[in-house]
Amino acid sequence: MATTRSGAAQRPNGAPQTKVCQFKLVLLGESAVGKSSLVLRFVKGQFHEYQESTIGAAFLTQTLCLDDTTVKFEIWDTAGQERYHSLAPMYYRGAQAAIVVYDITNQDTFGRAKNWVKELQRQASPSIVIALAGNKSDLAAKRMVEFEEAQAYADENGLLFMETSAKTAMNVNDIFLAIANKLPKSESAGGGAAGGARRLNDADAPRASSCCK
């Protein structure tokens, strides 16, 4: 990545070439650990104390600007399908990043977070960037999961790790930024995991050259 960056900086005509990379990011974790709240904080800058578990949003998008790259996150929420262990595998398809969330005041959610990490290692793309978020850090007084314990687990498994608070916004942008920095931004990135595959939409006019060329 460093090489890409310096290469861009040396462009002679001054205008920095901004590359736009789009990534699918999935959220995982037990119900009520604050997955939707993290996204709402990141995307809308909002926090609702009594966030409904379903928000009617298939996914939200948010853009981050790195030095020479614009990273567009397409953030998928579990839509409640994680209850009763019924998350559809299509959720992981083509995901380049994941945030596994637990609640620092609830040891069980940390145990479940480890299972989600295993599930990702089993189901998702091998190159997926995984971040572990210990949410509700504003409730440190009721802490049940030690920072060091989670940090050690994250290090062992090669995960990014931060404690976050959707309520105070602490580390929320930072964790997304850390993921954005870690994602490979090669030419092939950003078109979804599968080059040549396509989404369907009604704006598709008949095209002279086919997508499958």
Binding site: G56, R83, M170, A194
Partner: protein, 526 residues
Amino acid sequence: MDEDLPTDFNVIVVGTGVVESIVAAACSRIGKDVLHIDCSDHYGGLWASYNFDGLQKFIKEVKTEPNKHSQVYNLEEKWYINKDPPQEEPKEDSEDGKAEPTKKVWCQADFTSEYRKFNIDMTSKLLFSRGPLVELLISSNIARYAEFRCVTRVLTWLNDKLMPVPCSRADVFATEAVSIVEKRMLMKMLTSIVGYNDEEMNNEFKDWNDKTFKEYLTHKGLTPNLIHYVLFAIAGGTESMPCLEGVRECKKFLMSLGRYGNTPFLWPMYGSGEIPQCFCRLCAVFGGWYCLNRPIDSVETKTVDEGKTVVVVGSKSKTLKCDHLVIGINECPKDFISSEPAETCDISKAIFITNGTIMASEKEPLTLFRFPPLNDEQNCVTVLEVGPATGSCPKGLFVVYLVTNKVKDAESDLKPYAEKIFDMSGGDQTATSDKPKCLWSLFYNVKDTSAAVHSGTDCVHVCAGPDAGLDYDRAVHQAEEIYKKICPGQEFLPRAPNPEEIVFEDGATPGPEFQREDEDAEGDKE
């Protein structure tokens, strides 16, 4: 574990096949409380895609617990390769990019270790680019959950060999297989079929009701080659296909051309099993509850106050109630199926894993091949070949699906066709040959339950299993019919909003804005 699961719903959907999932999504979308359950640990039922491990479990289950998959029978799995790699295996892999890559010798252990790279369909189907499923995916905004690939070519079997079928205008003019005169004739014929409106259609074909499509094509002066292309490859028919059906099928094919690719067809990335999951996700996004691994023990209807009927479903010692029960035929208690579906034609299916494509191509092909019947008793065989780019298998392999109407049993019905296009002798995988080696095969029959099934009561709706057709049209149609009964007069899957269109409710106070510096850190850092 499930104490917090509510017990009263507007709609309970049992089974996660395509029909059930579309109905679940449609009901949830307009605000019905929906519980969607499946007795197995995965989505899709007989419409699922499996990785190689999941497929092995499925095969084992069919053999040891036949009641669990009562629609599947005559299942035969066969390997054509060794269990373990050869002893004197050279160390370097083909990925080194050596000048002379030797062809990989596959063994069964490779399939086991790379099991995750397989997504093998129990029901493989294509989408017509302008067919009802594509239109529904787009109009409902469910399309954003899935990715597709265009089928790159349509093949046929002519003069005992594989031939590409020219399907777009460009193809027609590029092909060397037909003469210039034939090209003009074909274009004229195809253009007129697309151009007819209903009235013109009725006029043109009023005397053809009881005749075959072949007779019509002959009458139009098409040469035998062209008749073959149009009848078998474009209309997907047989010698006896009725004229009007042939015209309709041709029109469907032609109308879907030019939207996304060179052929009228799309294939879902990671297999057809993604389709029901997309609808399930929409259902969940609008508040639907999901429980896999949840078998049902009993279904009964009860009349409560004011003559209202509710359906009571017993499941894992819990009593669930709903106004409407939507249930897949596989899960449905027999007493709710008023009459066994008319003994239509069952389906013969086969899946092959090969070490190459059936017909060499510059880029990785995605192929629809309609195999005309080899003898008079049989039907057309639909062949779909998909490669690694579709997420169906590891690099170097192809997955090929064969489907036809059952005559005898899956193996007898399909093996003669497979032998024409694959080398099924086992043996040296590196040997050069004009046909790809078949490494593994699975034959099975599936009961055809696609004839509409009535439950005998207004509040239980039985969904059919997969049909033998090439597309999803029947499933989409059935789902819409069931939805209309549950939610009369309501729009079917109105467009779901895009994320940026969602306005979050006011009233909830935004959180305090400390930690501003964090937001700045993200900001528009240059």
